[in-house]
C-alpha cells in the first residue's frame, strides 16, 4: 500500500477531505481521471479539476452515460473516479452492474451525499438503499468510512490499490476522529475493533460508528463489557470478525443509517446464521418505507430511532 502521510490530512472535514485527497491521488497516479455528472463539486472534485482540467470530464446530468464512459476509459487503462449523488445509484444501476462489475473495469464511484446528508431534500435526495443495490453485485467493493482519516485511507486504497469497481460512500459530515495519524492502519475488508468486550458486540458502519461508541460508553458505565466494531467495508464483509464476535459474546447489535434488510444488518445476519447463530438485533433505517423531509441528520436519526439509547436497549434485551 502507498504509505500515506496522514498528518497532512489532519483536521480536514467533509468535502475538504475529498478535495485534498483527490488532488493528491491525481498527482500520484496520472492514470486517474475525474468524471462528474454536474456533480464534480458535490464531493470535492474542485481542486483536482482545477489542477488537471484535461483529466476532468463533466457529462452533464446524465449519470448512466458517465458510468458507461467510465467503463470505456478503464478499458484503455485509465482509473476513472465518478462523482455521484448517492441517490442516483438507482438510476445508473444497470451501467454499474453490466459495464463496471460484469465487464470487470477498474472504476471508482465516489458519493458524498449519502443517507440523510441532504436531509431537507426528502426521499428523492436521500440515499438509504444504495448499499442494498450494490451489495448484490459481484466484483463490487463498498467502503463507508467513519472518520476523516478513514476516508483518506479508503480513498487511497480503494482507488490506487484495489483493481476493480469500488463504491466510496463518504458522508459529507465526516468530522469526528477516532484514530491517531501515527498508528492508523486500514485494510479493505478488515474491520477495526475499536474496543474489546465479552458481553455484547456492537457492529456499526460510517457515521453510525459514533452513535455506537456513545452507546458503548453508556453500556460500559452500567458494567456491561462491550465489543465495538467499525465495519468500514460492507462488501466484502469481514466474516472472521463477525464469527469471532458470535462465538465470544452473547449477541450482536448492528447499527447503520441505511436499510438493514440489504445492508450491514443483513450481511451480519447471513454470516452469523450460517456459522454460529446468536441473537442479532438491528438499529437501522426502517425497512419497507420511504424517508421524510427533515431539518438535519440528527433530527432524522432521532425520528427513525437511529440513536444510542435504542442501541443500549437492544443490547440489554440481548443480555436479559
Amino acid at each position: 500500500m502507498n504509505k500515506i502521510d496522514f498528518k497532512k490530512y489532519e483536521g480536514l472535514t467533509g468535502r475538504d477531505i475529498n478535495n485534498k485527497v483527490l488532488l493528491d491521488i491525481g498527482e500520484i497516479e496520472p492514470k486517474t481521471v475525474l468524471l462528474g455528472a454536474d456533480s464534480l463539486c458535490s464531493a470535492g472534485g474542485q481542486l483536482f479539476s482545477d489542477r488537471f482540467p484535461e483529466r476532468t470530464f463533466n457529462f452533464g446530468i446524465a449519470e448512466a452515460n458517465m458510468l458507461g464512459a467510465a467503463a470505456g476509459l478503464a478499458m484503455l487503462g485509465k482509473i476513472p473516479i465518478c462523482i455521484v449523488y448517492g441517490f442516483v445509484i438507482a438510476r445508473a444501476l444497470e451501467q454499474i452492474r453490466d459495464d463496471l462489475c460484469y465487464n470487470q473495469k477498474n472504476t471508482k464511484i465516489l458519493s458524498q451525499t449519502v443517507t440523510f446528508d441532504l436531509a431537507s431534500g426528502g426521499v428523492t435526495h436521500q440515499a438509504v438503499e444504495d448499499i442494498s443495490f450494490l451489495r448484490n453485485l459481484p466484483n463490487m467493493v463498498i467502503i463507508q468510512p467513519a472518520t476523516p482519516l478513514e476516508a483518506v485511507a479508503a480513498a487511497y486504497q480503494g482507488i490506487l490499490e484495489h483493481e476493480g469497481p469500488v463504491y466510496l460512500r463518504f458522508s459529507r459530515t465526516l468530522k469526528e476522529e477516532l484514530y491517531s495519524p501515527d498508528d492508523y492502519e486500514f485494510q479493505i475488508g478488515k474491520a477495526i475493533t475499536l474496543q474489546d468486550g465479552q458481553d455484547v458486540t456492537l457492529i456499526a458502519t460510517g457515521n453510525s460508528v459514533h452513535i455506537a461508541k456513545k452507546a458503548a460508553d453508556t453500556l460500559g458505565s452500567k458494567g456491561i463489557s462491550v465489543r465495538l466494531i467499525n465495519m468500514h467495508t460492507i462488501k466484502p464483509i469481514d466474516k472472521e470478525v463477525i464469527i469471532k464476535a458470535a462465538e465470544e459474546t452473547k449477541g450482536i447489535v448492528t447499527l447503520e443509517d441505511t436499510n438493514a434488510s440489504g445492508s450491514l444488518g443483513a450481511a451480519v445476519c447471513s454470516v452469523v446464521c450460517q456459522n454460529n447463530p446468536v441473537k442479532v438485533k438491528h438499529i437501522s433505517f426502517p425497512d419497507d418505507r420511504f424517508s421524510v423531509i427533515g431539518p438535519s441528520i440528527n433530527a432524522l436519526n432521532e425520528y427513525f430511532g437511529i440513536t444510542a439509547e435504542n442501541v443500549v436497549k437492544k443490547a440489554e434485551q440481548i443480555l436479559t
Partner: protein
C-alpha cells in the same frame, strides 16, 4: 476509398460463410438464435473485420488496435463467426455455442478473444465508446473506436446522453454505426417509437452523418475507409439493411428477430444461403 474487385468478391463469399456458420451454430445448439439482426449486419461485420479495423488476431489486446464495441450484443453468434473467419478463434469453438459456461452464446462475453466489452442489455455500448475515445484522445493514440448499434436500441435515452457527450468532446475518433433494418423486437421501428428523421437527429446532436447500403460491400468499404466524415466531429454511419437478409421468409419480418428452425426449414434456408456464393 474504392474496393478492389477481388477483395469485394472475397468479402461477399466470407459474408455467406459467416451466415452459414451462424446458422449451424444456432441450429446445432438446439436453442435457435437471432437470425434477423445477424443477417442484417453480416456484410457490415465482414467488411469491418476484413477491410477496415486495425486489429491483430494473433494479439487481440494489441495496444494500437482499433476498438470495436458490438453494442447490439445479441448478434454474438454472427460476431464470433466473423471473428473465427478472421482468425481470432478456432472454428471448433463455435460448436460450444450455448453450452454450459461457454464463451459464446446469445450475448457477447469477455471470454471471446477480441471482445473488449461484453454487451447484451441495449444502449450501453456508445457510452463505453465515448470513454474509450476520450482515453485515446488523452493519450494521443491515433486508433479509433467503433460502436455498432441496432436501430431499435437507440430508443434508449443513454444513447442520446452519449451522443451529446461525444460531440461536446469533439470525438472524431469515435464512429457510431447503426444497423437500420427498420425493425424492433416487436415490430417496425416507426410504429414502436419513430426514429425518423434519423440523419437529422444525429446531425442536430453534433455528429457528421452518412447513410449507406448495408448489403453493398463496395459502398460499405468506401464509406468506412473514409473516416472521420468531418474533423472534430464524431461520425455516424447509418447502415440501411434488411432484417433476415438472404432468407425470403425472414426478410423484413420481425418474427424472425429470434427463431428456432425446424430441421426441414434449416436445411432449406441453409441451401438458399449457400447458393449465393460466387465463384
Amino acid at each position: 476509398m474504392a474496393i478492389d474487385t477481388e477483395l469485394e468478391k472475397k468479402l461477399k463469399n466470407m459474408t455467406i460463410e459467416s451466415k452459414l456458420l451462424t446458422m449451424k451454430m444456432f441450429h446445432e445448439s438446439g436453442q435457435g438464435g437471432h437470425y434477423g439482426g445477424s443477417f442484417s449486419s453480416a456484410e457490415f461485420l465482414i467488411v469491418m473485420y476484413n477491410g477496415i479495423l486495425k486489429v491483430n488476431p494473433k494479439n487481440p489486446k494489441w495496444e494500437e488496435r482499433d476498438h470495436f464495441i458490438l453494442s447490439k450484443g445479441h448478434v454474438c453468434g454472427l460476431f464470433v463467426a466473423v471473428l473465427a473467419l478472421r482468425g481470432f478463434l478456432d472454428k471448433e469453438v463455435l460448436s460450444t455455442y450455448d453450452e454450459i459456461n461457454s464463451s459464446i452464446g446469445m450475448h457477447t462475453t469477455l471470454k471471446i478473444p477480441g471482445c473488449d466489452f461484453a454487451a447484451g442489455s441495449l444502449g450501453h455500448g456508445l457510452s463505453a465508446g465515448v470513454g474509450a475515445a476520450l482515453a485515446k484522445k488523452l493519450d494521443k493514440i491515433s486508433s479509433r473506436v467503433f460502436v455498432h448499434m441496432g436501430d431499435g436500441e437507440i430508443n434508449e435515452g443513454s444513447v442520446w446522453e452519449a451522443a451529446m457527450s461525444a460531440s461536446k468532446y469533439k470525438l472524431d475518433n469515435l464512429i457510431a454505426t447503426i444497423d437500420r433494418n427498420m425493425m424492433n423486437y416487436e415490430g417496425n421501428t416507426e410504429s414502436i417509437m419513430p426514429l425518423e428523421p434519423l440523419e437529422e437527429k444525429w446531425k442536430s446532436f453534433g455528429w457528421a452523418v452518412k447513410t449507406v447500403d448495408g448489403h453493398n460491400i463496395a459502398e460499405l468499404y468506401d464509406a468506412l475507409s473514409s473516416l472521420p466524415l468531418e474533423e472534430n466531429k464524431p461520425s455516424c454511419i447509418i447502415v440501411k439493411s434488411i432484417k433476415g437478409k438472404g432468407i425470403p421468409c425472414m426478410e423484413g419480418n420481425w418474427k424472425y428477430h429470434y427463431a428456432k428452425l425446424s430441421d426441414e426449414d434449416f436445411q432449406e434456408y441453409y441451401k438458399l444461403i449457400e447458393e449465393c456464393k460466387c465463384n
